[in-house]
Amino acid sequence: MIEIFHHLVYGLQIATTPTNLFYAFIGCLVGTLIGVLPGIGPAGGIALLIPLTFGKEPASAIILLAGIYYGAMYGGSTTSILLNVPGEAASVVTTLDGYQMAQKGRAGAALSIAALGSFIAGTIGLVLLMLLAPPLARAALKFGPAESFALMFFGLSTVTSLAGKSLRKGMVATTLGLMLSTVGSDLPTGIIRFTFGIANLMEGIDVVVLAIGLFAVSEVLTSTEEMAAGEFVVEKLSRIWLSLKEFMQSLGAIIRGSFLGFFIGVLPGAAHVTASFLSYTLEKKMASDPDNFGKGDIRGVAAPESANNAAACGALIPLLTLGLPASAVTAVLYSALLITGIRPSPFLFDKHPDVTWGLIGSMYIGNVMLLILNLPLVALWVKVLRTPARWLFPIVMVISFVGVYSVNASSLDLLMATGLGILGYIMRKLDYPLAPVILGFVLGVLMEQSLRQTLMISGGSLEIFWKSPIAMILFLLSAIFVVLPRFLARRKGMHLA
């Protein structure tokens, strides 16, 4: 314990040299921008800035690049809340209540709780990272293909909390997402599916294209229609800042989201997405008034935003303690380390304490920087909503399409975003929820992959799932998630009768 404290002091010493403070600040600033602008995500952003680290100390390089990572987690909620444009898959769930809050004139409160939640979660995540890294990394290795499949399956069960009135419609939307996820080259066999001979589809549909098309484009379409009919009203901004009551109301959600996000972050797979959807579901299930969710409940913003920040801390654990990147973003950090001349290995903490503890130290400082940077921005962002709708919507379209184009520089993506926008519009008209499509899409790829890896290992036998206690527990939890609320509802109904 005392040893960890010494290490932390050492790390803070490295992180507080003027050069490293500067790098941490640049990282956080760029990260916030990458997070705010839909399109290029943290992995792409970090890869772009790797050349900036040439000739720098390894510790400075990783401090700068990691800053982009957790900085992007702060910024990611901004467009989700203000404009219903999720910049990345992890902030899709934030749109559910965040955008509703903005419509009710409480954008400021939503943005503030996202920033505060991110700060608290980032700090809790760091403390857990320091205390638990080695044992957790070992535990995470227990998650092989079979356990990963069970985890993704559990993730899918959160559809019950996203579906709104009709679970059936939620299932249909999830299935649509699962179907879209099969486009592209199939990893276990290498066979190309549903690409119609278009080379650009071989890597599948990009989640950013799907999220922006489905949410942003369809949002502009429906809002324009409402505007023409004179029905579109954004309520006047009541008060920019968060009230103490709102903060206290969200505190539990933030703390639960932090822990949940952190532990899911350590596991392989789509950590940020799973963490944000699961924490949202958890809050909704725990709430005494679950009906408020989806109508602008502040806990619905606080929980997922905290969870995805804490997941960023958790995701660093396999990289720092095992030298194994478990996600797309940490894979880029892994290459960045190699380029600076450090080979990530299980000895990273022993051999390069300046890098590991310097990074941890800088993340404490970076979190404070991000909070100071983001809170004043809230006042600026909410002004965006004062823009008259006839100007705002075209701007949203421009930002969205630039974002889509920035991912692959492909004009096909622009066409797809348009098509998906129309699909989203139809789904809204028919009262189908959109978030489950993203959920199914993101988890679908990994689910299929891990299921087939599992069956390859077992030679086609399903027995392998029985033999894994972790998988069985997760399946059981999924069943409880789906069945229990209906059971309770029925009993309640019987009482009333």
């Binding site: 992995a43 792409g44 970090i46 890869a47 790797i50 050349p51 040439f54 000739g55 290795l141 227990k142 998650f143 092989g144 293909p145 079979a146 080259s185 990893l187 276990p188 066999t189 290498g190 190309i192 080379a199 650009n200 071989m202 890597e203 392989p268 396999p318 095992l322 030298g323 194994l324 990147p325 478990a326 797309a328 894979a331 880029v332 892994y334 290459s335 190699l338 380029i339 001349g341 080979r343 990530p344 290995s345 299980p346 000895f347 692959n408 992959q449 890896q453 390859m456 290992i457 030679g459």
Partner: protein, 339 residues
Amino acid sequence: MGNVTRKRGKMKARKWFMTLGIVLAAAMLLATGAAQAAYPDRTIEFIAPANPGGGWDMTCRMTSKTLQDAGLVSQPIVVVNKPGGFGVVAMTEMTKNRPQDQNTLVAFSAVLTTQMAVKKNPFTYRDVTPVAVLFVDYGTIAVKKDSQYKSFKELAEEWKKNPDKISFAGSSPPGGLDHMRIAMMAKALNIPLAKIRYVAFQGGADALAALLGGHVAAFVGEAGEIAGHAEAGTIRPVALLADRKLTGIFEKVPMAKEFGINVSSPNWRGFYAAPGMKKENVKYWEETLGKMVKTKQWEDVLKKQAWVGLFLSGDKLQKFLDEELTAYQNLAKELGLVK
């Protein structure tokens, strides 16, 4: 009067200096223009046909860094990731959309050859301009630190007895390089190919995690991918699929052929360019990369990554690629991976 003349003189002088200034500036512009005309005259693009973090990405990033550190290029280099279909997307882009591109190099490797051999890539090397091969990363088989199989011999014996029990984690799709490695070994051991349990993961790191978690019996991949873990002792490389011993961390690892399994599977890596790259520009890159592989910085990179230097360009490279492709095509047919 005198005052006026003096004024006029001053004006004349000013005009003269201005003219001189303009002439000088123009001359400088022309001079820099002439200097810029030398190839490369604009930002160079390195395309990694995969996501950041993998082998192609590392090839691009390590090469661009070494070129810039050693001062061998006058223009900045940007690395662009263009993932898709194991290199097909990038190759389509170069052949269809920018066949005349003079400023772009694309990373390639034996992975592309195997994809061509099993016809999952509609192109061949004849469709582009191969520029150079820079280094080789040898295939290797590894087990977990506490695996019950102490040596390659034990692993091979068990595999022969119970093919069902030995699953291999690799990072290429079936028909890809890692799968071919296992298939070649199985063939040498007379194990029916249908009995092979090869599990494809998203990348070397994921395959390694599956090994460390005890979900598979063995790992198949390249020495560079596991150097860190081999050094730390968390995994044990039991055999090299190489026709030569390696130095450093892999010094004591035996070659598969020492156990009578004559399988050597190097993955070479390098760059190709657009089909229409001019001869003199190809030459520029052959020379520049040729200089780079002789630098101290590059030597350090090779050592750190457990890579082995191998420089091929020009006719030698063309011949090498032709032989490679034929060899893999024959192998794919023999292994029943293509009809």
